[in-house]
Assembly symmetry: C2
Homo-oligomer: 346 residues x 2
């Protein structure tokens, strides 16, 4: 008896989805394996994606409020749409597995967080399902519309010579998790690390902002490959290279770090660049683009160059001031230790 | 602190979905509250629905194989599309919360059951998500296309004077569950109850066939209200009356019973009509239609008349040979006892 969990998240997905994917009908433009699937509509296309969040694996109620959960569970799905490019989110189906001990107050707050984010992005919550569960579980499916002429960008289009870029700042959410876990937060009173910095990092974890407008902009600006950084930059780059048949170099000193992350690292001795490289849950966008376009995007403040795409044979490498840095452990919820909050974010 | 579970499934759904539904955009034709939502596409409409199945609540691995689960978790969603009328299922997103003890073999079988039913109905499995969970959890979202001119039939269109009808036979799945639970199966060797009957009833529980072709036919034949019987005929009629602002009478002696269910009842002393009235999980269609159309449908073998729609003030009533029968307890997964297999199906 082989345990299914030994296959890991991607192995399992391949196992129960794949043989179907070889027989998908012609209306399916992109099947499983990208941030979202693409199905042809009349004069346009639908981008479709789903994500499931389980208590004790993806969040913990001791530090995730109802409003946080409502926001985040929709945000991670919208991030998948953003990662497709020119997509306008349209609708969501929201299922909730609810525990006996969950309060109405928690559900009300969940609704508020969900509702606010949905309204901010013009998403209609059109339906859902509620079931009893031992652990609080949220499963959301979203659909976004790509109008004719809109450009959808998959993971597999990066070419050697392209620049690698990322939006926003990286590593914040992983630092936020470390702070919540308490491991390095004792010194939060230390010089240079204010409660405002702390709040910023925690908020980056609990309330990620899906980069939908950026996704559309980066697609129109000529990104050759695009995905989100849900499981960390390193994992995104690895998957992008796998899909594109390329290698890549990530330069640690180029990673965009927030002021708060630098302050946290200085105060706690934490490894800011390491978190920016491998920590998950920032929900920024990672992309490849030809050098000229990359420079223009950087000049416009839309994204920062963090490395370059290479030939496949060169592999996927991280350099720190020109020297190789060992490949970090990849962020994966599925194989994470069962202990509360212990996740591959360090 | 009020427990959210005290609100019940529908109360909870109302609580976390509702205030949004009042602000849905114009592209949403039908929001939460029907079998599926309806969103306008270009020249046509999408019907969207989602269902979550949790081990210990909706199924038990001791009597539900991987193939059964793959089949049923898609079937219950397709049944919701069937309940909308003229819909062609198109795509599905399939998320799996997997336990540490689940085997690869189970996942392979899950895939097989899912795959076969998807292919039978032309459904593309376009994506999904896999997460770690304490209880096996399946969450599926499906989209179906209603071409221009196709008729979608909601729950709220029944009118006093309409006939009430149901497809197929009722109560089989509930008897199948009783058999699996073992409570009344000791006598399965009794006269008139064969292993073939037993197999039929159990299969009705584990492998429901979504009535998609029937849904399209009933919509085109002029059904005024349509829904599925996932939670039992009684519950469906009650919800239909609530949505339509009507009452109804269900006549027990008219309920369509399978030969196997009659044999089981004779051998075990079970209440066949009671199960047909209140037992869940048959996934047949329940509809209202003007009397002339109802007679035509009955003559064509498409559905059987089981009662009539009345004025609201008459309430929702069950009659047995003209005499009132007490309203049965409604089937609801959510409030079901936590004990294995104890569900409101009796």
């Amino acid at each position: 008896l082989t345990r299914a969990s030994s296959l890991g998240e991607r192995g399992l997905l391949r196992r129960y989805l794949p043989s179907l994917s070889s027989r998908l009908s012609r209306r399916v433009e992109t099947g499983p394996g990208d941030d979202a699937a693409v199905v042809r509509g009349r004069r346009g296309r639908w981008a479709l994606t789903t994500d499931m969040l389980v208590e004790g694996v993806h969040f913990d109620r001791s530090w995730t409020g109802g409003e946080d959960l409502g926001h985040k569970s929709l945000a991670v799905n919208l991030s998948d749409l953003a990662a497709m490019g020119s997509v306008e989110p349209a609708w969501a189906l929201v299922s909730l597995g609810i525990t006996q001990d969950a309060s109405v107050d928690f559900v009300d707050k969940f609704h508020r967080g969900l509702s606010r984010l949905a309204q901010a992005h013009g998403v209609d919550i059109v339906g859902g399902d509620t079931v009893r569960a031992d652990r609080l579980t949220v499963s959301i499916a979203v659909g976004g519309w790509a109008a004719p002429g809109g450009r959808l960008v998959l993971r597999g289009g990066a070419r050697p010579g392209d620049a690698l870029l990322a939006t926003g700042t990286l590593g914040d959410a992983a630092a936020g998790l470390e702070i919540l876990m308490g491991s390095k937060s004792r010194r939060r009173g230390a010089v240079g690390f204010s409660s405002r910095d702390r709040g910023f990092l925690v908020r980056r974890l609990l309330r990620p902002e899906p980069r939908l407008a950026w996704g559309r902009r980066l697609a129109q600006a000529g990104a050759t490959a695009l995905m989100d950084s849900s499981d960390g930059l390193w994992r995104s780059v690895t998957l992008m290279c796998e899909a594109s048949g390329t290698g890549a170099v990530v330069e640690l000193e180029k990673l965009p770090l927030s002021r708060a992350l630098r302050a946290w690292a200085a105060a706690s001795g934490g490894d800011a660049a390491g978190l920016a490289l491998a920590g998950g849950e920032d929900y920024e966008l990672v992309l490849a683009a030809p050098p000229g376009r990359a420079r223009a995007l950087e000049a416009a403040g839309a994204a920062r160059v963090v490395g370059r795409v290479t030939e496949r044979k060169e592999g996927v490498r991280a350099l720190e001031n020109g020297r190789p840095r060992p490949a970090p452990r990849m962020f994966e919820h599925f194989k994470a230790d069962k202990k509360r909050g212990k996740r591959g974010a360090s």
